[in-house]
Symmetry: C2
Subunit: 335 residues, 2 copies
DNA sequence: CTGAAAGCGCTTACAG
DNA sequence: CTGAAAGCGCTTACAG
């Protein structure tokens, strides 16, 4: 049986079959330029019947566009679910505007893949999913005059960025702990070079300020990124008799919980525990851990809309306000 | 200060500057066709100095290629780390051959995004990262005559697929348990429509066969995909006094462990626990859980190499043999 | 070894 | 309202 062998039509084929010019077909398809209603009809019908779809690459070449967005994804993303949700938000939105997303793995420091992507002119813009202080990537993108938006905070006026309300949320979470009467809070967090670490710490400090409690700087630990270091600072925290461990992310939190278990320290009976970033893990842990849930999908979506706007796409300005929830679970039960 | 305003050269510019034809420039760059050594030199030098890089899209159009690979990623990937590592393996390899990867989120059942990607002719081939029984995606890809490879098992002769040795590894893991004298093993697993569920179960049964132990089918549970169901079957397993819970994936395993904790049942003292898929979580749990570690990065790499081969790329046949490790941890200590 | 020309499949001034 | 033509930036027979 000779397969249906779906002939791939070109605009020229259609023009010939219909006895009109390529120009006309093109116009009927794009809707740009004046064109007779009847002619347009005929073209559209033909197209539908033979389910033609234009060669986007050719279209792109003619317009000096690619209809592709690049997503720079850090290779060492601990926070898997964050990047996944973000990516889905971006892709979905891109798709709605007929763009596709090319992923580019971003190795620490270097920018090999991203460089190629940009130099090859395979994307119209870039979305950078981890904002790093003094980023090479950002510098490169600027230099190459490639439009981009970064996800996460930025103190650079020229950079378009979208972000979760990390500082605000961290502050609310911390305030709550203080209001519960917990006084000595240990903060355990990630890489100092990540902006987000800074925001969370700031929120933590803001809350102390607001509640009129002096933050104990001796139990604020940052750049704690492996199990050994975590074990060490948990030990220190316990020795210092902190009331609560405040973890900046879920992975750290899992590890802290592990350490506590091992030391035979009970949560929440002996010490409280919270995470500044929620995940399924936080929910199904023993005990379930109080944490902050952000709308990461929405974040990706917003980033993408900003990008599309920069590219001159006519996006309806449905930019959603990013919110978060403070989810109280057993790990902070005080009774 | 007028930015360096990096002029974007085209092949025509170069030809003019050097007083040769575009053909010559093209040849000097691609290395195809005979060309004078000296001329080639001159071109290459010019190119280096002005760091020109060709417009890949235009090149693609001329060759009816895109130099893009599509990766179909399931939106509901529980096994985040699997897809991430796989993706990195793919992207890395693609990059080495000057391809880029467009991600396409694959919603349950539907194939909207993938369809667009293919119809728009934005990719040369597709890599499908979850093999599902009787897959719509596969059917569509075949119909459209789009080259593709699937990651995971496939019983379809026409389909190129690469896979982890799931069955073999599951068998080894199970055998080990049986050899340790554990007799009643509960198997808890995921979606029946996923091929991988089938492979793991088969390996589990093979081991029983090999060891001459009758598998107790009453404690083989599949399609257990949410916390409620897990809680239920764990309860049943405990009541049936199983010796060990064998979980097909890490997420399930985490939940099973949670349930056991809640019921006050100790691992490994009262019951053993293993996972057929490793992750950091398994390592840093209390107790750490015995599990199977696969080379997912290598899997992605292989998939990509297969794909590139199909596309006529001259890949060195460094196809790596996929292996796995059986990592024994505290959760199966028998003393 | 080198080049003029046609072509990849589209878009878009420009001129009817 | 419609079309011939040039152009997007490359490649590749074909003919020197």
């Amino acid at each position: 049986m000779p397969e249906q062998e779906a002939k791939i039509y070109t605009i020229a084929d259609i023009a010939k079959e219909l006895g009109v010019s390529k120009t006309t077909v093109s116009r009927a398809l794009s809707g740009k330029g004046r064109i007779g209603a009847e002619t347009a009809q005929r073209v559209q019908e033909f197209v539908r019947e033979h389910n033609y779809s234009p060669n986007v690459v050719a279209k792109g070449l003619a317009q000096s566009k690619t209809y592709n967005l690049g997503i720079a994804l850090p290779f060492d993303c601990v926070d898997l679910s964050f990047f996944k949700e973000c990516m889905i938000g971006i892709c979905e939105t891109a798709c709605r505007y007929s763009y596709d997303c090319i992923v580019s793995i971003q190795w620490e420091g270097g920018l090999s893949q991203i460089e190629r992507l940009v130099m090859d002119r395979k994307v119209d813009g870039m979305i950078v999913t981890r904002s790093v202080i003094d980023s090479q990537v950002v510098r490169f993108l600027k230099e190459r005059q490639m439009p981009f938006v970064v996800i996460g905070p930025s103190d650079d006026w020229e950079v378009v960025s979208v972000d979760n309300p990390n500082q605000e949320a961290s502050m609310e979470l911390t305030s709550l702990l203080l209001m519960k009467g917990l006084r000595k809070l240990a903060l355990i967090g990630g890489n100092n070079m990540h902006y987000v670490t800074e925001s969370r710490k700031q929120g933590f400090l803001d809350a102390h300020m607001e509640q009129g409690v002096l933050a104990d700087r001796s139990v604020i630990y940052t750049d704690i990124d492996d199990y050994r270091k975590i074990a060490r600072v948990v030990g220190q925290g316990v020795a210092a008799q902190v009331d609560c461990f405040v973890c900046m992310d879920e992975l750290t939190c899992m590890s802290v919980l592990g350490c506590l278990h091992e030391m035979g320290i009970r949560v929440p009976a002996d010490v409280k525990l919270v995470s500044m970033y929620d995940s399924h893990r936080m929910e199904f842990n023993t005990p379930p851990v109080t944490s902050l849930r952000f709308d990461t999908y929405g974040l990706g979506k917003n980033a993408c809309m900003e990008m599309l706007k920069m590219l001159g796409e006519n996006v309806e300005d449905e930019q959603l306000a990013l919110s978060y929830q403070l989810i109280l679970r057993e790990s902070t039960k005080t009774t």
